[in-house]
Symmetry: C2
Subunit: 153 residues, 2 copies
């Protein structure tokens, strides 16, 4: 069963520091289906098929291992475009110490889109979060920035 | 985790009785990938995505619900052909009482192929099984009659 994630998502206009020193992964993902979600993803050298059912009360999520060959075969079947992005893990400081930003820098046709996601241990922390100055608009509730939507844009 | 199934598979040349009185389902299945297996299947009005990893010791199998729309979308992405067959459930009698044959009557390009599968509660019963007269060659260990192979034939 699905663990409930508490996270907020923000647009980023400009990053006022160099990303070079941060841990980075190359992420590619595409969708074979969006209702339920059948997604393939490459995260550096890890390949996965993810299934996410719809529904509110009874959701199911499974992450299933693929190998490179299977991934490269399935990639030819995705709808729309393959999303390619670099994901940087950036620890926050000040009142946000203990939290980490997942910063997605999109490549290809979706460049120069940059999205920041912060995951919280509980709702209280999520509501109390004061976004750093370099964060832009809060798009947590905006479907436009879901990866499944971006893949069809 | 995968339950180990103990089953034997046979070719059928001729069925010496009418199938009309037996329970029948329409089954369609196709493969998006074969290593690991990513299969979609329609079983009457039930639609499913199945994942089966390779490997001997640590296999994983997941059956994930699809709806009709998702199935019809994914069907356009299968490799090779979509397998279509009617599956009859036929209870056996005599020394085989308690066992049931799953009789698959293939349609389309794979007609007139007919395969019988019998599932056993344990290995002892499987080894002691005396096939009915109307059963043909035992193809339990013959990869040629795996559905994933038939889909590419």
């Amino acid at each position: 069963m699905n663990n409930m994630e508490i996270e907020r998502k923000f647009l980023i206009k400009e990053i006022p520091f160099s990303l070079e020193s941060f841990n980075v992964r190359l992420i590619e993902q595409g969708y074979l289906c969006t209702g339920p979600v059948v997604r393939i993803r490459r995260d550096n050298d890890k390949y996965e098929l993810t299934y996410k059912s719809g529904g509110m009360m009874k959701r199911r999520e499974e992450n299933l291992p693929l190998n490179k060959t299977a991934y490269e075969h399935l990639v030819t079947k995705v709808d729309g475009r393959l999303i390619q992005k670099k994901r940087y893990m950036i620890p926050l400081d000040g009142t946000n110490t203990g939290l980490t930003v997942e910063l997605d820098v999109f490549e290809g046709e979706l460049a120069p889109l940059v999205l920041a996601e912060v995951e919280f241990p509980d709702e209280e922390t999520a509501n109390a979060f004061v976004a750093p100055e370099w964060f832009g608009e809060d798009v947590t509730f905006c479907g436009l920035y879901h990866n499944s939507y971006l893949s069809r844009l």
